[in-house]
């Protein structure tokens, strides 16, 4: 029965992606995509943050530890930050997060960063589509951060 079930699960496999979106641009961009009825995969779980500068590296790690298959972080384009420099500071942080996670063996496409403005509803959908495709290709998070439990309650469903 195991095999059949696995096959069935593979068919309906949809990655779960934690999306941290900045309040002023990317979240509005996602909203615009919604208002404009732009289709994109329902794979992201949106978490609104005040600014991409608010992203703590631990958010990304925790999302991976809790079993997210991918992470998307998106903020205003550099130069457009509502708080002037939040995303400039974030940019260095993001580069290092991505680099370190890749260095310790997390597949490159699992953690994604982008800039999406409030006017880029269609582009937001494209970004989500792209990220979803690449994370789907990688399959479920069996990466090195996920807390794998030996049969207890902490195992993901």
């Amino acid at each position: 029965m195991g095999e059949i079930q696995v096959e069935a699960e593979n068919k309906k496999y949809e990655p779960k992606i934690a999306a941290f979106l900045c309040n002023w641009c990317s979240y509005a961009g996602a909203d615009l995509a919604g208002v404009g009825r732009v289709q994109y995969p329902a794979t992201i779980r949106t978490i609104r943050v005040p600014c991409s500068g608010r992203i703590n590296p631990l958010y990304v790690l925790k999302a991976m530890a809790n079993g997210a298959d991918g992470v998307l972080v998106s903020g205003c384009h550099p130069g457009d930050c509502h708080y002037i420099s939040g995303n400039y500071v974030a940019r260095r942080k993001f580069a290092l997060i991505k680099s370190l996670l890749n260095h310790v063996g997390l597949e490159e496409d699992r953690v994604n960063f982008s800039w999406v403005s409030a006017a880029e509803g269609i582009r937001f959908a494209e970004v989500v589509k792209g990220v979803t495709e690449r994370v789907s290709a990688l399959g479920p998070n069996n990466g090195i951060f996920k807390v794998v439990d030996d049969g207890g309650a902490a195992a993901d469903e």
């Binding site: 207890g152 309650a153 902490a154 195992a155 993901d156 469903e157």
Partner: protein, 337 residues
């Protein structure tokens, strides 16, 4: 009595079918006690493991229970799992350490089932020390490097064979599976020689407890703790440290309650919910560590809670040496109050 190593190895391999067998194994960066399937995997020439074998009765991270919430209801399930276990190659210091932990996990009112049931289903095969590391100081605590106290079955390496001493009933049950023969006179002499050895390094603890009775307010603690980093290495590597934390791991409507090693050196150890912390500085914490091992424990249980294994000395990042610390307490001037 004795048994050849070859014969012992065969008997050992047969035991694997009936017991979970734990033995010292070289893991690249040192010796670790690990489950083994064959005597050939066992490292026979070693000083001692990096971490004490206490983890087999008191794991660093252990599930106490699990629960499932449904609406307002909850179902709770114990997570106690016990296997018949043999611990092979336990050094006399660690064997003594287990006797001390026994007193902690079964006090005048409560018995800790997680520790005790494992302990009762485990057989300790001790292995005498024929080589003594410079950090060893077990002789300070009336432990002999080749003493059988705390073991169920005790072996001394004689080269091609082991001298075998049956210490307890549990040990006897195992010994019945071994084809034992008599020692020769030469071997007997060698055993005597090994048994009479002491660790070259010794500290004088004869008056330490009574001295510490009067030292709670001593200025000794002020300078003692300065270089301590406050990490948990000494506690985690100690065969008698037993402090733990209980926390909850939750996923959706299910969770487990786990206990993990904790240490009195951690500032959060005694922090109240209100923010008050009775031991809010390193000085108080170091005093607690030393007092607990060399004073409080003696008053409560009749012996010191240190077995002289030297692990804390070896692994301390700043070379804080418990021998010097005790010695310093012995010599510290008492303040007249």
């Amino acid at each position: 009595m004795k048994i050849s190593k070859e014969k012992f190895g065969q008997a050992f391999d047969a035991l694997v079918a009936d017991y979970k067998v734990i033995a010292p194994v070289s893991d690249g960066s040192g010796i670790a006690f690990t489950e083994v399937k064959s005597f050939s995997d066992v490292k026979q020439d070693y000083l001692n493991s990096k971490l004490p074998p206490k983890a087999f009765f008191f794991p660093q991270h252990e599930k106490l229970m699990s629960y499932k919430k449904e609406g307002k209801d909850v179902t709770v399930k114990s997570e106690l799992k016990v296997e018949n276990t043999i611990l092979f190659g336990i050094r006399p210091c660690d064997a003594k350490g287990m006797l001390l932990l026994d007193k902690v996990f079964k006090n005048d009112q409560y018995t800790d089932p997680y520790y005790y049931e494992r302990r009762e289903k485990a057989v300790i095969i001790g292995l005498g020390c024929t080589k003594i590391a410079p950090t060893c100081f077990c002789s300070s605590f009336e432990i002999s490097p080749a003493g059988s106290e705390g073991s169920d079955l005790f072996l001394i390496d004689l080269g091609d064979s082991y001298e075998v001493e049956v210490v307890t009933e549990k040990g006897k049950a195992l010994a019945d599976r071994l084809a034992l023969t008599e020692l020769t006179a030469d071997e007997q002499a060698l055993v005597e020689k090994i048994k009479s050895a002491e660790t070259p390094s010794k500290i004088d603890v004869s008056n330490t407890t009574s001295k510490l009775d009067k030292m709670f307010n001593s200025p000794y603690w002020d300078t003692l703790q300065e270089k301590c980093l406050g990490c948990n290495v000494c506690s985690f590597s100690c065969p008698t440290c037993h402090c733990f934390d209980i926390s909850e791991e939750v996923r959706k409507n299910e969770g487990t309650r786990v206990r993990t090693w904790d240490a009195c050196m951690a500032p959060l150890f005694t922090l109240h919910g209100s923010g008050h912390n009775p031991r809010d500085n390193k000085k108080a914490r170091w005093r607690q560590r030393l007092m607990h091992k060399f004073n409080y424990f003696v008053h409560n249980n009749g012996s010191m809670s240190c077995v002289g294994c030297g692990r804390c000395i070896k692994s301390c990042p700043v070379n804080m040496d418990i021998r010097q610390v005790v010695d310093g307490a012995n010599k510290a001037e008492l303040v007249v109050e």
